[in-house]
Amino acid sequence: MQPDRKARLIASLPAWGATIALLLIWEISVHVFQIREFILPAPSAIWEACVSAWPNLLRHTLATLGTVLMGFFASVIISLPLAMLIASSPTTSAAIYPLLVITQSIPKVALAPILIVALGANEMPRIIVTFLVAFFPLVVSSVAGLLAVPPELIELGRACRAGRFQELLRIRLPFAVPFVFGGLKVAAALSVVGAVVAEFVGADAGLGYLIQTSMAFFRTPLAFGAVVMLALMGIVLFQAVALTERLLFPWSSSVEGTTTATS
């Protein structure tokens, strides 16, 4: 564990170095070229804006986080059974997949105002938009996982007289775990995108709303601060999913990508 952690720290050094260098170049350029603050604020100005608006910024961050989490969990709860249904037979797959593709080809920004009128100005339309943006990759990768089981393994199950349910529970689902987590990581990142898209269209709180109102008053540093919070949120969610995978399915995180190749 100890050398492992050390190796990981060393591996992350270049990334930290590059980030710090970029921030420095940014800061210096803004001062040297005297760029106006409402066009491109320096990192220090963004920092100051965040600190001075802190309780407010935190409130908006938590509002967005709520939408993101609800949308994300909705994706998980709906995608996994949907994936099982699609994977269960070619008929169900042929019936459901086209519908999914249609939901994906609708621009979510266009859908948001319609949903707000239909469902009222509350949290619901934002959660639905978040869900619509996030769930598709999760369904696709879960289906891929459920169908990637080597045919011999399925045959082994059948030879042991396992029924369809047993096969799903004992063979297909565990096999799909690395694929599901691949999809969850994408869904986590997309949930943040979805929540902001929804907030742009209709919200009275949240980082998307904060960005819009700040820009209306040329408070660019605060808008940048909101963007930074969004980025942080995406990273934290992604890492949370990765950590859950490492803790619950330690065998999974290292087989990802190799499962299909070796079997």
């Binding site: 080597p150 011999e152 045959e155 082994l156 059948r158 030879a159 063979i171 565990p174 499962t259 079997s263």
Partner: protein, 256 residues
Amino acid sequence: MIRLENVNKTFRGRDGTAVEALRDISLDIAAGEFVAIVGASGCGKSTLLRLVAGLVPTSSGQVMLDNAPVTEPRTDTAMVFQAATLLPWADVLRNVTFPIRLMHQHDTKTDDKARALLATAGLSGFETKLPRELSGGMQQRVAICRALLQEPRVLLMDEPFGALDALTREEMSLELLRLWSARKMAVIFVTHSISEAILLADRVVVMSPRPGRIADIINIALPRPRSFEQEGTEEFQRCAARIRALIFKGRDANAA
């Protein structure tokens, strides 16, 4: 014990064309007998095993096991595939006991039996390792242990050593013979290697392709226990020549 009576198997392809995989197969296998099947690729060897396993139905004719027709998978037949096909998420011990647990025959003695079996296969100390931490040969050994733990009366092996290197292959063949002679089960062993078939089997079934038929059945009169030294004997060479002739005759007839 196993009896195939005029078995035909025709697959209907996705485009509706019929593929005749097996034609008029009749074969008797005694309890505890070791039968090898050799033949060109595509002559229906795997299909034959699946029929005996009850995984696919015959098109006509019957597969009988202990005088009862085989219509579905049975708990007393076990299968080993070319790839080890272990569960990537389960350690060696849980992989070996997986079929037993699936069949709800798991009890307190199962794990001990599995450990003992793994020990005879040279895998003690690896019980808690994951499949990806094992070499290909070790993985296949685990797969064989998994099949043997079911204490099958019929063991079906589809090119079980096909993915292994030549040295591991020879070592595993002898090991398989040792494990087989310790219990009395019938083995049907599909292979592409003529010498492997002769070394292992009591009888070698030679199949010819398109449609898959039995070209001939060769009795191997080599004394047991078998060893690789027997490869030099006259009997071994005679059998090998005969099998080779049968396979190539089928091939020439097909080309003509």
